[in-house]
C-alpha cells in the first residue's frame, strides 16, 4: 500500500551528511511524522518503545500490513527502551531462550542495513565471570547449551581473564575469580538509536506513530477486541498488540486479564566519561554487578532489582550502596571515578524470569511483555516474533513456548531456578 503522505524519507549516508552540512543542516526532515489518528487501523500496537516500533516495522516490512498505528502515552522511547544498560547477547541456558535470543542477535547484526540507521551495534564481547566451582560448572553447562544451538561461546580460565581485564580484582577472599564464559558476539548498542531507527523505518512504510495518545480502555465485543479508547479519541482496531513494558499488568487489566507479572525497579548508573578503560561487557556472578563502557566514554553499570513492586521510576539507596560496594570490590579502579547519573526502569517481572509473546484469551488481543530485565536485547527479535504472531494469529516456533499457559502446564522457563519470586529473579 503506498504511503498516504508525500515520501519524506531521508536516506542517511556520509554523502548526505556532507550535502546537508554545506546547507547548514537545514535540509533534514522529521525522522517520523506526527500524524493525527485515523478512525481505524488493521493493527494497533500499544506502546511506542523499541518493541512496539519494531513490531510495527516488521508487520509492514515482512507481512505487508501497513495500516498500522503505534500509540504511545508520551513521546516514544522514554520507557525502558530509554532506560536500560544497552547490553545485547544471547548467552542463555535453556534451549527455547537461546533460540529466541540468538535470532534476535542475528537481527541486531543486520539492523543498520535494515533500518539505514547506525544503532552502534558493537560486538565487543560479553563476559560472565564465575567465582566458584559450582558457578563454573553452571557456566560450562550454559556454554555447551549455546554451542549446541550454534551460538558462539568461549570458556576463559583465570589467566585468560586476568590478561583480558588487568584492572579487576582476581582474589577477593569471598569472590575469587576462577574464569569466565565469553560470548564474543555479545556487546552493546545505542538504546535511543534503536527506537529512533525503528520509528523512522516504520514511518517510512506508512505506520502512524501516535505520540501523547494514552490508552484508557480496551473495547471488546463478544470476546473480540474492536478498538481502543484513548486520550485522542476512540481508535478502531482489527487487532491490538500490547507492548508496554512496566505497565503490562495495567493494560491487561483493561481487558480483564490478570497476569503472572509484578512490576519492579531496576536501577542503572553512568559515570563521567573517561578514555577507554573497559572493552567488553563484564558481568560478575557475585554481588549482581555488571559494567560496560559506552562509546561516549561513560561507564554504564547496574545490578539487581530494588526488590519490591514499584512504578516510581526512582531507585532507592540500599541498592546504590550495595552496587557501589560490589563495583569497587570487583573493579577497584572505579573507586576514584565519579558516578554522574542514576535512573530506574520499571521491569515486568514474570514468575519464571522469561517473557511472553502470545495470544490472549481475548480474540485479536496479543501480548508482548514480561521481559524482566532482558527486554532491550530482545527488541528486534520480539518485534519480529510479535509481528508474526499478530499477522498469522499463531506463534512462530521461536516464541511458541513464551505463553502464559506455561504456568498452568508446569512448563516454566526458569533460567536461574529462582521460582515464583519475581523480586528475586
Amino acid at each position: 500500500m503506498p504511503a498516504r503522505h508525500e515520501p519524506i524519507f531521508d536516506r542517511y549516508s556520509v554523502w548526505r551528511l556532507l550535502k546537508e552540512s554545506i546547507d547548514g543542516n537545514r535540509g533534514w526532515k522529521q525522522a517520523w511524522r506526527k500524524p493525527e489518528p485515523k478512525a481505524r487501523y488493521d493493527v494497533v500496537i500499544v506502546g511506542g518503545g523499541g518493541h512496539g516500533l519494531a513490531t510495527a516495522h516488521y508487520l509492514a516490512s515482512v507481512h505487508g500490513i501497513t495500516n498500522v498505528a503505534v500509540v504511545e502515552k508520551g513521546p516514544i522511547g522514554l520507557g525502558n527502551s530509554g532506560r536500560n544498560t544497552t547490553i545485547v547477547r544471547s548467552n542463555y541456558l535453556l534451549p527455547s531462550n537461546i533460540r529466541f535470543y540468538e535470532y534476535s542477535l542475528r537481527l541486531w547484526e543486520g539492523l543498520e542495513r535494515e533500518l539505514n540507521y547506525n544503532v552502534m551495534m558493537s560486538q565487543r564481547g560479553q563476559l560472565s565471570l564465575f567465582h566458584s566451582a559450582s558457578e563454573r560448572d553452571a557456566a560450562v553447562r550454559r556454554g555447551n547449551s549455546m554451542l549446541i544451538q550454534g551460538v558462539d561461546a568461549v570458556l576463559l580460565d583465570r589467566e585468560a581473564v586476568r590478561a583480558m581485564l588487568p584492572f579487576i580484582a582476581m582474589d577477593n577472599p569471598m569472590f575469587p575469580i576462577l574464569g569466565g564464559l565469553l560470548q564474543p558476539r555479545g556487546g552493546t548498542a545505542r538504546h535511543d538509536a534503536v527506537v529512533w531507527g525503528f520509528a523512522r523505518a516504520a514511518n517510512r512504510r506508512g505506520v502512524d506513530i501516535l505520540e501523547h495518545c494514552e490508552v484508557t480502555g480496551i473495547r471488546c465485543e463478544s470476546g473480540r477486541v474492536v478498538g481502543l479508547e484513548t486520550t485522542r479519541g476512540f481508535i478502531g482496531a482489527g487487532k491490538v498488540g500490547i507492548a508496554v513494558a512496566g505497565n503490562t499488568s495495567q493494560l491487561a487489566a483493561m481487558a480483564g486479564l490478570r497476569l503472572p507479572i509484578e512490576t519492579h525497579l531496576l536501577q542503572a548508573f553512568v559515570s563521567e566519561a573517561i578514555k577507554p578503560l573497559i572493552g567488553c561487557v563484564i558481568n560478575f556472578g557475585a554481588g549482581h554487578f555488571y559494567i560496560s563502557q559506552s562509546d561516549k566514554g561513560g561507564l554504564v553499570f547496574g545490578g539487581a532489582l530494588d526488590g519490591y513492586n514499584s512504578y516510581s521510576q526512582h531507585g532507592n539507596l540500599p541498592l546504590v550502596e550495595h552496587l557501589m560496594s560490589a563495583g569497587v570490590s570487583m573493579v577497584p579502579a572505579l573507586s576514584r571515578l565519579r558516578v554522574l547519573r542514576q535512573w530506574a526502569g520499571m521491569m515486568d517481572m514474570t514468575m519464571d524470569g522469561s517473557p511472553f509473546i502470545c495470544r490472549t484469551s481475548i480474540e485479536g488481543l496479543y501480548l508482548n511483555g514480561g521481559w524482566c530485565y532482558g527486554g532491550f536485547k530482545a527488541t528486534p527479535g520480539a518485534g519480529w516474533c510479535f509481528a508474526y504472531t499478530i499477522a498469522k494469529n499463531e506463534p512462530h516456533p521461536l516464541n511458541a513456548d513464551l505463553t502464559i499457559d506455561r504456568f498452568f502446564e508446569g512448563r516454566m522457563i526458569d533460567e536461574a531456578g529462582v521460582g515464583p519470586k519475581p523480586w528475586a529473579q
Binding site: V154, E272, Q342, G410
Partner: protein, 974 residues
C-alpha cells in the same frame, strides 16, 4: 605575573604561599584558593579543550556548574580525572593536568575536528559509519571511542579509605547561605537536632560575595557553633533525595590535603534521615547563547564577583558585563572598584534602576544593547536601536538570569512550577516533608532570603515538636530588589553559540533536533546530548529548553525540563561504597573450629557467607591428592569433618509434628522420639527446595537441619507459613545454627572411634541403629549424637555447644588416632556423596522436582503439603523429564566434566541432559558422575555421549543408577 591580579580582601590567607603544578608548570596560590582561582591569579586563560570540537576553553564559573575547566588531578593511584578545578581546594604540592588534548593544550591537533563542525552536528553518528558493516568494530568505533571520553582513569587500586555514617535529625538544612544559616539557627535554638550541610569549604554561600555581610555571617556561624544540637558539615554535598526523607551526601574529608592523615578517610558517605528538610541550595546563573560564548575569557557574572570578593582576584584586565537582569550590576561595580579600566555593562533592557548608580562609579552602562560576538580580546556590541561597535576586553561576564537549584526538591517528588517573573522554574508543593527557601525558591536579596529561611526553620522545628524558637538575632537588611529580568536566551548571529559547553552542543543543534522531529525536551536532550555532561546542564539546561521552545513556537513552561535525578553533582564511586569493599564487602561467617582448620593446613573455600575447609593440604601434596587421601581415609577407616554450617532449626510446640508434615513431602509425625528421618521440601510451585534431616527430640520438640546454602531461606519459609498461613498451629521456631557446632565422624571405624570418646550413650547397632538420635558426653561435655550418613559409610554427627567444639573435636581426634583418623574437607565430602548418589546444590538447583531427583516415592499419598498441588501439573509430572542418573565413562581412565551435555548420537543438535556432578571415585577407581537425563530411568545401561564443545571433548558414558556405591546402604546400616 600573578601579583598584579591579586586584590585586597577576600577569604584567602595571603601570609601563606602554596606551590602547585599545572601541566608541569610550577605556580603559586594561597590557602583559601581553589585551583581555578589560583590559575586565574597566575594569569592562565586556557585550561581545557572541549569534547567534540576541541575548542580552547577557560574558567567559566566558580563552582560545581563548571562545564569546561576540568583536569586530571593528582598522580598515580590517586589520579582523579574530570575534576572541576573550580571545586578543588588548593593544597601544597597539588598536581593537575589538562585533558582531552593532543599533543598539548596550546596546540591541539584534534581541533581540526572543528573544521567539520557542520558535518558533525547533532546525531551525525546515527547517519553514517554504516558502510562497510565490518568497519564499525574494527575502525570507526575505536576511533570514536578514542576521541570521546574526557580524562584518563588509573587502573591502580585506590590507596585511600572511605566510610559510611548514618545520621538522624529533626531538621536537615542543605546550603549555608543566608536562608540556610537563619533556618539552622532558629531551629537549633528551638531545641531541634539540626544538621547543616554545605558543599563548599567555607560556610556562607552568597554571603561570601558581599563584604558588607561578613560580620553577620561570622556572628551566625559563631552562634551556631555554640548550639550543641547543631552540626555543621562543610565540604558535604547532598547528592540525592530518597524515599521517606532520607538524603544521601558525600563529605570530602581529605581532598584538600595532599593525602589523608593517618587513619583518616578521603571521603565519607553520609545518609541523613530527617523529619523535615530545608532546601537552601541557592541558584545557578545561566548562560546566554551568542557567537563565541564559549571562548576563554567568558565568565558567568556571579563567578566574576566571586573571584573578586572571595578570592581577591581580578579575573581580567578589561571587562564587559552582559546581562538581562539586575544581579550583574554588582559584578560591574566590583570590577570597577577593583580598578579595572573601562568596565562596560551591556544590558539588554532599555531601562534599569541601577544604571545611574553604576555610572556614578565610572562604569559605562549601555542599555538596550546585546553582545553579538566575542573574539580575541574584543566584544562586539549591538544596540537594539541599530549600531554596532567593538569594545576591547579580555573578560566577558555574562548573566542570563538565575535558576533556583531545584534538583533536590524535584527528586523529592515536588513538581516544578513556572515563574514568569523570574523566567524560570521554581519548586512547587512539597511531596515530602521539605521546603525550599531563599534563592532556591526564587527569592532574591540576602535579607529576603534570611527571612524566608528563618520562617522555614521555625516551621520545621515546630513540626518536629520544638516550638518557641528564639528570634532575637538580627537579620540582614532587606535588599528591596525584585527580580527584574527581561528574558533573553539567544543573540542570533552566524557562528557557534553554545548551549552546552562540555558536550559542544550549539543552539543550531537544538534547532536541527527539532527539525528532525526530536522536539520533546527528552528527545532533544538525548539526540544532542545537551545537559548530559558532568555539569548536569546547570549552566545551559534551561537555555537549551528555551531555544527548543522558540523552535517549537511554544512557551518554555510547556516545554519543561528533563527529569532531575541523582546525583546533584557527580560522586566518587568509592565514597558511595562507604568502605564496604574488598574483604569488607560481605559479612564473613566462621565456624567455632575456624582457627583449628587454618592451623592445620586447611585451604578455605567461601560458600555463601561461610569459609569452610576445602581440603587439608600437607606440604608437598597437590589439592586433588589431598582430597583423594581424605576420602580414602574415610572409606577405609575413619574421618572427621566440620559440618557446623548446616542450618539448624529448633521447633517446639504441640503442633510441631503437624507443621512438619505440611512442610515436607514425606510424613514426619510418625518419627519416634530418639529417631530422625531424611526429608525433602518443595516450593509451592512443586519444585524441590531443600533437604535435610528431622530429628524428634521429644514429643513436641524437633530439630531440623537444612542445607548450608538454604539455611536462612528455609527458616523464613517456615516462619511465613507458621505466622501467616497456618497461624492456628502452635509451634515456635528458633535458629540454633550458631549454638551447635556439628562434627561428622564417618567411616567403618567411626563407631569404634566414638566408642572411645562418647560416654553415657550406647552406640551399639542394636541400641543406636541407623537414624537414631541420642545424648551423651565427650570430655564431660554434653553432646547430641545423630547416626546419619552423607558419605554412605557408617557415620555419626556430633552436635556440641559451639564453645566446646574444639575440645570435642580434639577428643575425637585423639580417640581416632589408633585408626588413623583423618580430617576431611568439602571436596572429599562431595566426592563421597557423588559415589553414594546423594543430591546437593547442583541437583537441587531450583529447576528439579522430587520425581526428577528420584524421590517421588517419598511423597505421602494423603494430606496437604507445600507444593503438592502444583507438582502435579502435566509438564512437571511428565515421565520423560530429565531425571537423576549416574554415569561413568566407558573407557575407565577417562575423566568426566561437569556441564557437558548428554547426546544420543554424535553431532546431534539435541541435548538429552547434562552432567551435574563429577568425581574420581576412590571405591571404583574411575570417574563417575551424576547427571540429569531425559527418560533417565529407562536409559539405565545405555551408552550416550558426553559432549563439551567448549573443551572440544566427547566421551562415551554408560548410564547407571545414581547410587554408584553401596546402593543397598549396607555400610551405613551395619
Amino acid at each position: 605575573m600573578s601579583a598584579h591580579r591579586r586584590l585586597q580582601g577576600g577569604h584567602i590567607d595571603r601570609c601563606k604561599r602554596l606551590t602547585f603544578h599545572f601541566d608541569g608548570r610550577r605556580l603559586f596560590g594561597h590557602p583559601g584558593d581553589t585551583l581555578a582561582s589560583a590559575l586565574l591569579a597566575s594569569g592562565i586563560r586556557v585550561v581545557g579543550r572541549s569534547f567534540k570540537y576541541h575548542r580552547p576553553r577557560g574558567i567559566m564559573t566558580a563552582g560545581p556548574d563548571e562545564p569546561s575547566a576540568l583536569v586530571e588531578l593528582r598522580v598515580g593511584s590517586r589520579t582523579e580525572p574530570n575534576t572541576k578545578m573550580t571545586e578543588v581546594e588548593l593544597y601544597e604540592g597539588l598536581q593537575a593536568r589538562s585533558q582531552n588534548r593532543w599533543p598539548s593544550l596550546k596546540f591541539d591537533l584534534m581541533a581540526v575536528s572543528g573544521l567539520f563542525g557542520n558535518m558533525i552536528s547533532c546525531g551525525f553518528y546515527y547517519k553514517t559509519f554504516m558502510w562497510p558493516a565490518s568497519f564499525w568494530e574494527r575502525f570507526y568505533e575505536p576511533l570514536i571511542r578514542h576521541a570521546a571520553g574526557l580524562g584518563r582513569a588509573t587502573c591502580l587500586p585506590d590507596p585511600d579509605h572511605y566510610e559510611a555514617v548514618h545520621a538522624h535529625c529533626d531538621v536537615l538544612i542543605v546550603g549555608s547561605g543566608p536562608a540556610g544559616l537563619a533556618a539552622a539557627r532558629v531551629a537549633g535554638e528551638a531545641g531541634a537536632r539540626v544538621i547543616l550541610c554545605e558543599r563548599d569549604f567555607l560556610p556562607g554561600g552568597g554571603l561570601l560575595l558581599d563584604p558588607a555581610q561578613e560580620i553577620w555571617r561570622k556572628e551566625m556561624i559563631t552562634a551556631l557553633e555554640r548550639i550543641p544540637d547543631v552540626q555543621i558539615l562543610l565540604r558535604t554535598n547532598v547528592f540525592g533525595y530518597y524515599d521517606h526523607n532520607l538524603l544521601g551526601g558525600v563529605e570530602q574529608v581529605s581532598d584538600h590535603v595532599p593525602e589523608p592523615r593517618p587513619h583518616a578517610v578521603r571521603q565519607r558517605y553520609r545518609t541523613f534521615r530527617a523529619r523535615h528538610v530545608v532546601l537552601a541550595t541557592g541558584a545557578s546563573e545561566r548562560l546566554i547563547a551568542f557567537r563565541g560564548n564559549d571562548r576563554p575569557g567568558v565568565m558567568m557574572a556571579g563567578a566574576a564577583l566571586t573571584y573578586v570578593h572571595r578570592f581577591g582576584i581580578a579575573p581580567g584586565k578589561r571587562a564587559v558585563v552582559f546581562t538581562n537582569n539586575d544581579s550583574a550590576y554588582a559584578t560591574a561595580f566590583a570590577l570597577a572598584a577593583a580598578g579595572l579600566d573601562g568596565v562596560v555593562l551591556a544590558d539588554v533592557r532599555r531601562e534599569s534602576r541601577l544604571a545611574a548608580k553604576l555610572r556614578a562609579h565610572d562604569v559605562d552602562v549601555r542599555l538596550g544593547v546585546e553582545v553579538n560576538g566575542f573574539g580575541t580580546d574584543a566584544v562586539t556590541l549591538e544596540a537594539q536601536s541599530g549600531g554596532r561597535n567593538t569594545v576591547r576586553a579580555d573578560l566577558l561576564c555574562v548573566s542570563g538570569g538565575w535558576n533556583p537549584n531545584v534538583d533536590l526538591a524535584s527528586q523529592s517528588g515536588a513538581k516544578l512550577t513556572w515563574d514568569a517573573a523570574l523566567a524560570t522554574f521554581i519548586p512547587g508543593a512539597p511531596a515530602q516533608a521539605e521546603r525550599s527557601v531563599g534563592a532556591a525558591h526564587g527569592i532574591s536579596g540576602i535579607g529576603e532570603a534570611a527571612r524566608d529561611g528563618l520562617a522555614a526553620g521555625l516551621v520545621a522545628a515546630k513540626i518536629s515538636g520544638f516550638g518557641g524558637g528564639c528570634l532575637d538575632f538580627p537579620l540582614p537588611a532587606l535588599d528591596g530588589s525584585c527580580a527584574s529580568i527581561e528574558p533573553l536566551w539567544e543573540v542570533k548571529t552566524s557562528g557557534k553559540a553554545f548551549v552546552d559547553l562540555q558536550h559542544d552542543v550549539t543552539a543550531n543543534d537544538i534547532r536541527q533536533a527539532h527539525r528532525e522531529g526530536f522536539s520533546h525536551i527528552e528527545h532533544a536532550k538525548r539526540y544532542t546530548t545537551h545537559s548530559m555532561a558532568t555539569d548536569q546542564g546547570k549552566l545551559g539546561g534551561l537555555l537549551g529548553a528555551a531555544i527548543l521552545a522558540e523552535a517549537r513556537g511554544e512557551t518554555l513552561e510547556k516545554v519543561g525540563l528533563p527529569t532531575f535525578r541523582p546525583y546533584t553533582k557527580p560522586a566518587a564511586i568509592g565514597a558511595l561504597a562507604g568502605g564496604a569493599t574488598g574483604k569488607r564487602f560481605q559479612p564473613v561467617r566462621r565456624t567455632a573450629l575456624h582457627a583449628w582448620h587454618l592451623h592445620n593446613g586447611a585451604v578455605m573455600k567461601p560458600t555463601g557467607p561461610w569459609l569452610r575447609p576445602f581440603y587439608y593440604s600437607a606440604a608437598a601434596e597437590t589439592g586433588w591428592a589431598a582430597v583423594l587421601r581424605e576420602a580414602r581415609g574415610v572409606r577405609q577407616s575413619v574421618g572427621i569433618c566440620d559440618v557446623s554450617t548446616l542450618g539448624k532449626i529448633d521447633l517446639q510446640g504441640p503442633d510441631a509434628a503437624t507443621f512438619l508434615d505440611r512442610l515436607y513431602i514425606n510424613s514426619l509425625s510418625p518419627v519416634a522420639v530418639g529417631k530422625c528421618r531424611y526429608g525433602l521440601m518443595l516450593r509451592e510451585d512443586g519444585i524441590a527446595f531443600d533437604d535435610g534431616t528431622i530429628s524428634r527430640l521429644d514429643r513436641d520438640h524437633f530439630l531440623v537441619t537444612t542445607t548450608t546454602a538454604n539455611a536462612e531461606a528455609v527458616l523464613e519459609h517456615m516462619e511465613f507459613y507458621a505466622q501467616t498461613v497456618w497461624p492456628e498451629l502452635d509451634v515456635s521456631l528458633c535458629s540454633v545454627t550458631d549454638q551447635w557446632a556439628q562434627i561428622a565422624v564417618a567411616g567403618p571405624r567411626s563407631g569404634m572411634t566414638l566408642a572411645n570418646a562418647v560416654e553415657g550413650l550406647d552406640l551399639s547397632n542394636a541400641a543406636f541403629g541407623f537414624m537414631s538420635v541420642g545424648e551423651g558426653r565427650v570430655a564431660a561435655i554434653p553432646v547430641r549424637v545423630f547416626r546419619i550418613s552423607f558419605s554412605g559409610e557408617l557415620a555419626y554427627e556430633i552436635a556440641v555447644p559451639s564453645r566446646h567444639a574444639l575440645t570435642v573435636w580434639q577428643t575425637i581426634l585423639t580417640a581416632g588416632q589408633e585408626f588413623g583418623i583423618v580430617p576431611y574437607g568439602l571436596e572429599a565430602m562431595d566426592l563421597m556423596r557423588i559415589e553414594k548418589g546423594h543430591v546437593a546444590g547442583s541437583e537441587l538447583n531450583g529447576q528439579t522436582t522430587a520425581a526428577d531427583l528420584g524421590m517421588d516415592r517419598m511423597m505421602k499419598s494423603t494430606g496437604d503439603f507445600i507444593g503438592r498441588v502444583l507438582s502435579a501439573r502435566p509438564a512437571l509430572a511428565d515421565p520423560s523429564r530429565p531425571r537423576l542418573v549416574g554415569i561413568r565413562p566407558i573407557e575407565s581412565g577417562m575423566p568426566l566434566r561437569c556441564g557437558a551435555h548428554l547426546m544420543s548420537k554424535l553431532g546431534s543438535g539435541t541435548s538429552l541432559g547434562w552432567i551435574t556432578s563429577v568425581t574420581q571415585s576412590i571405591v571404583l577407581g574411575h570417574w563417575i558422575g551424576l547427571a540429569m537425563l531425559e527418560n533417565g530411568v529407562a536409559m539405565n545401561g545405555n551408552t550416550v555421549y558426553a559432549v563439551s564443545h567448549l573443551h572440544d571433548e566427547t566421551i562415551e558414558v554408560v548410564v547407571s543408577s545414581p547410587n554408584h556405591v553401596d546402593p543397598e546402604n549396607v555400610r551405613g546400616r551395619s
